[in-house]
Every structure is written in C-alpha cells, then in structure tokens.
Symmetry: C2
Subunit: 365 residues, 2 copies
C-alpha cells in the first residue's frame, strides 16, 4: 500500500517474460504504436503525442525542464513538499530564473498566489507545479492553476507523476502544455518508465530554446524524430514496454473515468477509516485530499516507525513514512493502481490491530 | 543474433515476474547489495564500486561525461564509428574541449596516434574511447591505450558497453579510471540498465568538477551517497534488477574467463564460417576482430537488406544491417550473451541457404 511503486497485477508481471525483440524491427514498431495510442488515452489528448522514456519520473521532469527552458527564462514553480521542490530544482538546474512561492507542507497551492506571482512577473514564460504532492497527500487545485497560467499566456507544465490515471486531468480540454507521469503509480506498472507529452506551443518553445544542451539522452527533438517511425533514439527497456502495453489494455478495459472514481472512493474510505481509528489524516480541507495517497499524523504515544514496522511484521502490508521534515511524524498510505476496497479494508484492520497491540491512544479530533 | 539486445535466457525472463518490492525497504537493500557485489566481479574490481542506472548505455556514457568534465577540460576521444562518435558528442556536450583523432570505419584506433595527441596536448586531462566499436565489429587495443593514457597521467575512460563480460577488461589490474557497460549485451539481460564504475582518481575529479550541472537524474555524487545505503536516489526499474541479479548469478556459475572464451570462440567460428561462404568479414587484421559482433560486407549481386530480410523470413534469425554510412553495405551478426556454437551454426546454415536462394556470387577472397 505504498504511494508507488504499487502492486503489479499478475497479467502485467507475466507480460514481461516474453522473449526480447529487436528495437529496430517491425515487431517493435507495432508494439510502440500501440503503446503510443494507449498513452494518449491516459493523457486524454488527441492533439499531442506521448513519449515513453526509460527513466524514473524524475528523469521525465528533467527531460522536460532541460528542453523547454532557455537560460534566464523566468519560471514560476509553487512548492508545498519534497516533490514540488525537486521540480523547482530541475527548472533551476536547466537555467531558469526561478520564482518560488512556498506553501506550508500539507497546505495546497493557492491559485491566487500564483496569479499574484504572474502579475508581479510579467516576463514569466512558464508555470510548473506538482498536481499531487505525494510527500503530504495534497492534491493541488490543478484546473484553476492551469486556467490562470493560460490567462497570462504562460506555458503550463503539470507534474502528474503520482496521480495521472487516478485523478482527473484532461490535457486537451484544459489546454495543458506539458504533462509528466510515471509507470509505477496509477497504471500499476513496474517502475522504470516515465511518460511526457507536450502541446504545440510547448514544442515551439523547445525549438526556440534549441541551444547547446548538455543532454543527449533527454534530447526531446531526437525523441520526437524517432517517435515518428515508432522507435526510440536509444535502446529502450523492452520488458517494461511489454508491461506497459498490458497495463494500458487494462486501463482501456476499465475505462479512465471508472478508474479515477475507484481511486477517489478508495482514498475516501482510507481517510474515513483512519479517522475512525482516532488518527488525524490531513489536509484539513477534504477538497485537497489526494486520490492516491493519504497522509496522516502518527498515533499518540507510539512512534510512527514502530507502527509501520509492526504492521509489516504482523500483516505483510507495507506503508510509507514521512519524507524530509515529516520523517518520524507522519505515515502515508497509497491507494493507487490496482487498489480496491478490499485492500483498503485489510490495511485499516491491520492498523487497528497494531494500534491496539502497541497501546496507542486515540488523538483528539 | 543481434549485436544487442540479445536473446535472454528463460531463467532471467522468469526472474522479472516476481512481485514488486519497496525500493526503500530492507528487501530491496539485500537485492541491491547482491547486485553491487556481482557487478564488481563483472568489472573485475575490488577497489571500486559499480552503480546500476535506469537508462540505456548512452545514458551511462552521458552520466560519466557530465560528472567528470569541467567546462573547458581537454578530452581526447579517438573515434572509428557511430558509437565512439556518440561518446565524443557526450563529452563535447558536457563542456569538453575535444581532441578527436579519427580513424577510418573498420580500422582500429592506433595507440601511437593517441600518444601523439597526448604529447601535442600536455594539458589533456582525460582520454576516453570505445573498446568494442559495435558499428563495425572492431575491437580497439584497449590495454595499450589505457597504458599510454596512464603514462601521461590522464584519466582513462572505457566505454565497454558492447563487450564487457565477453572480452578481457580488468579494471583494477589495468588501472582503468571509468568503465561503462549495458545490460543487454554480454550479460544477456534485457535492455534498460547501464552500469558504471569510477576509480578513486576519477571520483576526485568528479568532486573537483562539482559545479552547476544541469542534471539531477545523472548526479553521480547523489548516486554514490545512496549506494552507501544500498539504494538508488530515484525509483529504479525493479524488474530489470531482478533480471540482473539472475544474470550475474549465471555469470558467476559460468566464470568470467570461460564466458570470455565462449564469446571469442563463437566470434571466431562466425568469421571463419562467413569467409567459407564467400563473404568478406572485417577488419582485415584478426587481432582487431570483435568478440561480440562480426561485421561483413554483403554478398555480391544481392542487396544486403534482401539477405537480412530473407534470413528472418526463412529462419526467424535476426541479424543487423549497417549504421550511418555503412547502411546497405554491410551486415552485422552478434555473438553475445548466452550465445553458443549451436546458434552460430544455425545462423551460418541459414545465411548459406539464403545466399543460394538469392543467387549470390561469392566475393573474391
């Protein structure tokens, strides 16, 4: 029950055992074309292509930042946790002049503050943010932020690594300029791949920013060129693409709207269940609670590390602790990928039993 | 029979179907520690650690170049084919002032020319070369080049992507400063991982070159820091690490010396066999013929693409064509990974039958 990597269904695991194929041959081209089509459904775009990279989500973020940013570009990156800070770092390293409104951990990004930043920085070309901050289980108000950025003629880049497929994001309808996600989250694929898609405006910016980049591996223009012939510029992780093909098939079978609802329902049950155990999940406002990861303060009187450890020992269920400043203070439970009410219930029962055994006291509501 | 990715043995394919584990948990640490140990055997080093990256070989090359080079460093990269040119490009993009002695495709790097370059460029800090040029089946005289670089106090970086484990390279004994390889070649693993190792001198250079790099994903100091706790900084491709663990086990079972000999024997049989079919493998001097890929001019009177296509149709055996300027002129047959005399014979029989059917004339010896 981690906030990614998630449990991978048997069907997807099995798909990886197929024999290798030549990544410069006709069979690969067919595989690639199918995947490219399935990814467009995941990204809810007909207009833009989606590119699979052999790299983690952070690699996907770096790829977009390196290719879009021209040295000195003003980029607004609001942050409210570990992963949005990593996003900000990637833009800074890519040469951006960073504008960085900070929000307290556990607090969502305020779209009004983004608007102020845009008004104060008329030359800002790009706004980038993390939709679902996995470090604290906060779902930022993506649609509003996208709208504001577009009203100010800025490119809008959404890091949806931990919730694409598990929460609503309509690349075409919302008019998003770049979306990044990873394989090991709501798709229930193994880790190792990230996926990115860029709008036409964003591609124009990439062309314009075409300067001496340090990267060959993340050269988007090369990736685009090879995509046209259903290939990747460098040897791809073929077994992970087999897994992805199966995962995209499962997504299509379920339907993306149903999958999003399943994620929302599971997260809601998890939050309610934790509250009923006397725990204190956050954020305060349910509206900003993530569909894919529920974060909560630990029980009173019991170190959170002990709770996590005991849960693993007694039940085999793995949940995560906090990251950075929340380490030792909070725990995080994922509800992503192939998750169902059944796993939610098992986890809640496990936590209840562990809290009793460890003699935890319920927190004051 | 491609020069990578190669056929993956059933044992390794099956290893990928194991359930996912948390890459921040104890089980992963054990897996990582085992892999790290096995990779040291592959690299023939006790002194240096080896790091697995979720990226293709090109990603591994880029990682080393970005971290080692400080803007303006003079770097000597002799080239004799597509992959050594890519190596040169990676160093140039990383900010190197490139010295680039060129050798004709199919001709090995001449160590004397490397020595001249070092004498002409007393300030050259690094020599980097491709050991086994996959584009033309040439095995460069690695030990000599390494020796010369060390005599001139330059760091020596070896791209052994397509022959580590299939040809001799002793990182400690030869005193090599950095070695890069990939998963999908002599290890017979699926593609998607690369492995790198650096000497203490090389790490000192990385520390010294620690400046504003564009990269987070390929930040070697971060990779080193996480390696100490048997982790990777970003989510790794867990199924590929399962496969790698099994492949390293198979390497240990066979023994690296035996595996190298098997590669050498298979390549020799392939060369001899092609000659006996009236074909003309190169390079002229057997001493420089690769252990892992045999390149040859196509048959007379038959387009090489037709031969490759017919071989696939009739026998299911996949071989490769030329790259870049040799496209349509040469073909390339891999003898790497799990290859045995049996596959060599099947391939030669297949080629013989295809040449007869297509009415090829033997080339003049």
């Amino acid at each position: 029950m981690l906030p990614g990597p998630t449990q991978v269904p048997e069907r997807i695991l099995k798909a990886m055992s197929k024999p290798m194929i030549n990544h410069r041959g006709a069979e690969f081209e067919k595989l690639y074309a199918k995947i490219a089509e399935g990814l467009k459904y995941l990204f809810q775009t007909q207009k833009n292509d989606v590119y699979p990279l052999t790299a983690s989500g952070t690699g996907g973020v770096e790829c977009v930042a390196l290719n879009v940013v021209e040295k000195g570009d003003k980029v607004i990156v609001p942050t409210n946790g570990e992963f949005s800070e990593r996003l900000a770092e990637a833009f800074e390293k890519a040469g951006a002049d960073l504008v960085n409104p900070k929000f307290e951990l556990g607090t969502p990004i305020d779209p009004n503050v983004v608007e102020e930043a845009l008004n104060d920085n008329k030359d800002a070309k790009i706004v980038a943010f993390v939709y679902n901050e996995t470090a604290c289980g906060v779902r930022n108000p993506a649609e509003e932020i996208v709208k504001i950025a577009k009203e100010h003629d800025a490119l809008i880049i959404v890091d949806a690594i931990s919730n694409l497929g598990g929460d609503n994001l309509y690349m075409d309808k919302w008019n998003v300029d770049a979306v990044i996600t990873g394989s090991q989250k709501c798709l229930a694929c193994p880790p190792g791949l990230s996926f990115i898609s860029l709008s036409e405006d964003c591609w124009n910016k990439v062309e314009k920013s075409k300067k001496e980049k340090e990267t060959i591996y993340f050269d988007l223009l090369k990736i685009k060129e090879f995509h046209k012939k259903n290939e990747t510029p460098f040897t791809p992780a073929v077994p992970l693409l087999y897994a992805l093909q199966e995962a995209l098939k499962m997504l299509k079978e379920e339907g993306i709207e149903k999958r999003i609802k399943r994620h929302a329902d599971c997260a809601k049950s998890m939050r309610e269940g934790l509250k009923s155990l006397g725990l204190k999940p956050f954020p305060k406002d349910e509206k900003f609670a993530s569909n894919t990861v529920t974060a909560s303060f630990g029980p009173q009187g019991v170190p959170v590390a002990d709770m996590i450890k005991k849960l693993l020992e007694d039940t085999g269920i793995v949940i995560a602790g906090g990251m950075g400043e929340t380490k030792g203070k909070i725990f995080r439970v994922g509800t992503m990928g192939a998750v169902t009410q059944n796993e939610v219930n098992l986890t809640l029962n496990g936590i209840r039993s562990v809290l009793t055994k460890l003699g935890a006291k319920p927190r004051k509501p």
